[in-house]
Symmetry: C2
Subunit: 246 residues, 2 copies
């Protein structure tokens, strides 16, 4: 763990970086206990609050966890996929909402990625994944469903499709792309006919995955992508028309 320059600003950021680098390089293995706050303060020649700010930065990234008590302290945290999902989704959602990413761009990315894992899903799908996909498709056909609930189910369906690939790295990377789309999807109003067609495509996808027919799954995903884009176009066009009226 290195020293900081005599620059007396951003000390907590510098300390956080030093510890982070040590973790990334492997110098601090998982579950290793860091020195106590008082010891770190002495090592870096800063006060305890400054050290604490640095540790909180790392805790925010799930790089460390802290325990109180006699044998407590800060420990290098094993970063789990489940923990990373949340951060990934938060970041992706904010990226899309804060950068005026168009529906078309986000949608294109999402379906490109999903189609990438469809062949793997077809090859490896388990009964569990299929059951989830069927259940969500069925939920989507219920009459009183709000648009928001419909979208949530849509996300669940696609997550099951992705998880069926049996590759946690893929699932992790796609979690952001799929979930971050939800706020954008929520802007769309789905008519009964729209839903019918989407559900039909979902069912077709589930059928193809069950039959391990990769090409069929890909084709249906492509159709779903095109149809989703089409629906979004309509929404945008109608909104533009309304804006002109005013």
């Amino acid at each position: 763990m290195k020293i900081d320059p005599a620059n007396p600003a951003d000390l907590s950021a510098q300390i956080a970086k030093a510890i982070r680098d040590a973790i990334i390089s492997g110098a601090l293995p998982v579950d290793e206990r860091l020195p106590s706050e008082a010891e770190l303060a002495e090592q870096f020649d800063v006060s305890r609050p400054t050290v604490r700010e640095a540790l909180k930065r790392l805790a925010a990234q799930s790089l460390i966890r802290t325990q109180r008590g006699a044998t407590g302290g800060a420990f290098v945290n094993r970063l789990r996929f489940e923990d990373a999902y949340g951060q990934q989704i938060t970041t992706s959602t904010l990226l899309l909402s804060m950068n005026d990413v168009s529906f078309a761009t986000a949608c294109e990315a999402r379906y490109a990625l999903e189609r990438a894992c469809a062949p793997l899903s077809a090859a490896r799908r388990t009964a569990d994944h299929l059951a989830t996909m069927r259940a969500e498709a069925h939920r989507q056909s219920q009459p009183g469903l709000t648009d928001e609930a419909f979208c949530a189910s849509d996300v669940a369906f696609h997550r099951a499709l992705v998880d069926a690939a049996g590759n946690p790295v893929l699932s992790y990377q796609l979690a952001g792309a799929v979930e971050a789309m939800q706020p954008l999807m929520n802007m769309i109003t789905f008519s009964a006919r729209d839903r019918e067609r989407i559900i039909a495509l979902h069912t077709a996808i589930a059928d193809a995955i069950e039959a391990q027919d990769s090409a069929q799954a890909d084709e249906n995903l492509a159709n779903l992508a095109a149809y989703t884009q089409e629906l979004a176009q309509d929404v945008i066009a109608k909104r533009a028309a309304k804006a002109r009226e005013k």
Copy 2:
């Protein structure tokens, strides 16, 4: 911004969550200035150090930035793709190294995702992207190159391929998958013949992208994926053999 329960533990985490939720919900728009630390301390009825710890957590996620001086304070930060790349790569790298993700799994995910954006890259590639790909392929053929430098160039080549798709969301999602592979790739020793074959495939990919031949690009990527897996298998097999000797 909501109050905290009377639970006097994890106050800074609770405050951070309250502010984070406000940002995500849009209640706090981009570039909005948060109340000063003293005001926040009063509002939440905690001390200033506690507020500061909360703000540092948010700063670690690039959700806010702070400025010193008379008109300073904490401002809601516009999360940019470039900022998010770094976090994505750090998280992905740690996920792979801390969870004993096999080379095969990571490699499969990476190439599946890359093949997903190859058609888009073929359609939209610019002269810039092509030039980068060619330059990296050429760099890889230089004689004295270390294995590490070879891997770094490999990453740069593939990033250019991904960026050529012209979709920032895709680039962001793939940044993690591609860059996180580098430490794993660094474990491989590339013989001159290995390199030759990889460079040939890189060149073939660049050719296909230039010719906007999506199918050809996909085929070469599939070959590269298979070959990379094969090389890794060899390394693993040799390592296992050595382990048996001992």
